[in-house]
Amino acid sequence: MKKFLNTADTYLTDALAGFAAAHPDLSVNLESRVVTRARGAVPGKVGLVSGGGSGHEPLHTGFVGEGMLDAACPGEIFTSPVPDQVVEAVRAADSGEGTVLIVKNYTGDVMNFEMAAELAGEEGRRVETVLVDDDVAVEDSTFTAGRRGTGATLLVEKIAGAAAARGDALEEVAAIGRRVDAASRSFAVALTACTTPSAGRPGFDLPEDEVEVGVGIHGEPGRRREKLRPASEIVSDMVDAVLDDRPLESGAEAIVVVNGMGGTPLSELYLVYGEVAALLEERGVSIVRNAVGDYVTSLDMAGCSITVCEAEEGFTDLWDAPVSTPGLRWGI
């Protein structure tokens, strides 16, 4: 394993300490593993909390700040946070207007956040949960744990964050978060496996000429393995998968995220975006906003995900609203 680290056991703490040092406008509690805005909950504003396993940076810690999250609770690498952490984050985020929890749909995340929501409820706090489940590589049926939450998390956190910032009430913020999730679909392909510090070697072996198709963001293998093909073909399949699951009519408007998994350089992501843009144009779909970069990563995995979100009423304005976080910033 080749990583900049001291020991596998201290990786997360050391990385969080560095994050804390780099962002004095955030407050990082290394003990409880909760990241909040340094100035605390915003009076009169609905709180926004997200969290999940670490290893997906900038998600979620990097999305704490004005216009987005109030608090994040990073778990161990690829392991959902524990309820105590989540409750701590809710306490920090809650100004009395209630808190929206943004939870990616994984069994562990769902259970831990549920327990936390119960605990917070026992403290008399109002909590709404928005579940993100955009990954069409997984069938949404009783024979699976349901679709995973992946790239759409960026959109949900940004758009719900902007809704909270403009003063929407608890149920409204949750509702728009759910609408964004419902309007979004994603699909990912990996060129390499990632290496967690504790495992010390790649999660799976992938021959030099093969790719994993339909991967998640936790280093798990995908739905199937394929020969490496030209980007235009790979991307065409990815876009098909996304749009077969939730078709867009000609004339529809979309927000598109081409998201790097951590080990893929920006130029490849742009190349992929170019293919996506051409394919959507062919279908008469116009991309009104886009984000190309590393947002929801999987440590050092080479690969990318494509997220298409239909830009329903209001989404674009909320996407454009000012945001100031380590991972996303404009207008402030």
Binding site: M111, F143, T144, G203, E220, P221
Partner: protein
């Protein structure tokens, strides 16, 4: 089961998951995200500390403490599942000693909680596939007057058997379900840790 045996059980689990940490991690890497070994190790190391530091007044207090510790240290799917299971079991054992049949009832309650929380059925390729046969075997032996060590050994054997039976299954719950058919041909990591939990009970009871 008395308080000391409950503690010894937790210590035995701690030792087992420490020893098998890597194997559990590899099983999880094959069809999940590879953290199950680290999760179990972190959780039970904390639980061993916690139950060592307390002065419990009942068997249940030890198990409840273990469960609470798991919930607040593990995260992931296994944290809430094992944590709630131990808490459910602990709630049933309010005395300083518990008869083997009472332990069986507590284990049944634990299993019930895992089922309720995770919604997994037998054959979904989860820890339930080791947990359920283990509890069955335990209550059967206990019901026919067997001693704790006998019941625990039967449970451990049944859990091992249940673990082995997960190999050909296609997962329908947890991360492994994302792999679809590719989950076939692998042991379920949670079932593997469940087998360790019951084997640890047999060891502690047999000592």
């Amino acid at each position: 089961m008395d308080i000391e045996l409950a503690r010894a059980w937790v210590r035995a689990i701690g030792a087992a998951v420490e020893r098998d940490r890597e194997r559990l991690g590899e099983l999880d890497a094959a069809i999940g995200d590879g953290d199950h070994g680290a999760n179990m190790q972190r959780g039970f190391a904390a639980a061993v500390d916690a139950v060592g530091a307390m002065s419990p007044e009942s068997v249940g207090a030890v198990l409840t403490k273990t469960g609470t510790t798991l919930v607040s240290k593990v995260g992931g799917a296994s944290g809430p599942l094992y944590g709630s299971a131990f808490r459910a079991a602990g709630k049933r054992l309010a005395a300083e000693r518990a008869e083997t049949e009472e332990v069986g009832a507590a284990l049944s309650a634990a299993l019930e909680e895992v089922r309720r929380l995770g919604g997994a059925q037998a054959g979904d390729k989860t820890m339930v596939d080791a947990f359920a046969p283990a509890v069955d075997a335990f209550t059967r032996v206990a019901g026919s007057g067997g001693r704790l060590d006998e019941a625990a050994r039967a449970a451990a054997d049944a859990a091992d058997e249940g673990l082995r039976a997960t190999e050909p299954l296609q997962a329908r719950k947890g991360r492994a379900s994302y792999l679809g058919e590719r989950s076939v041909g692998h042991l379920d990591p949670g079932a593997a840790s469940t087998a360790l939990v019951f084997r640890a009970l047999a060891e502690a009871a047999g000592a």
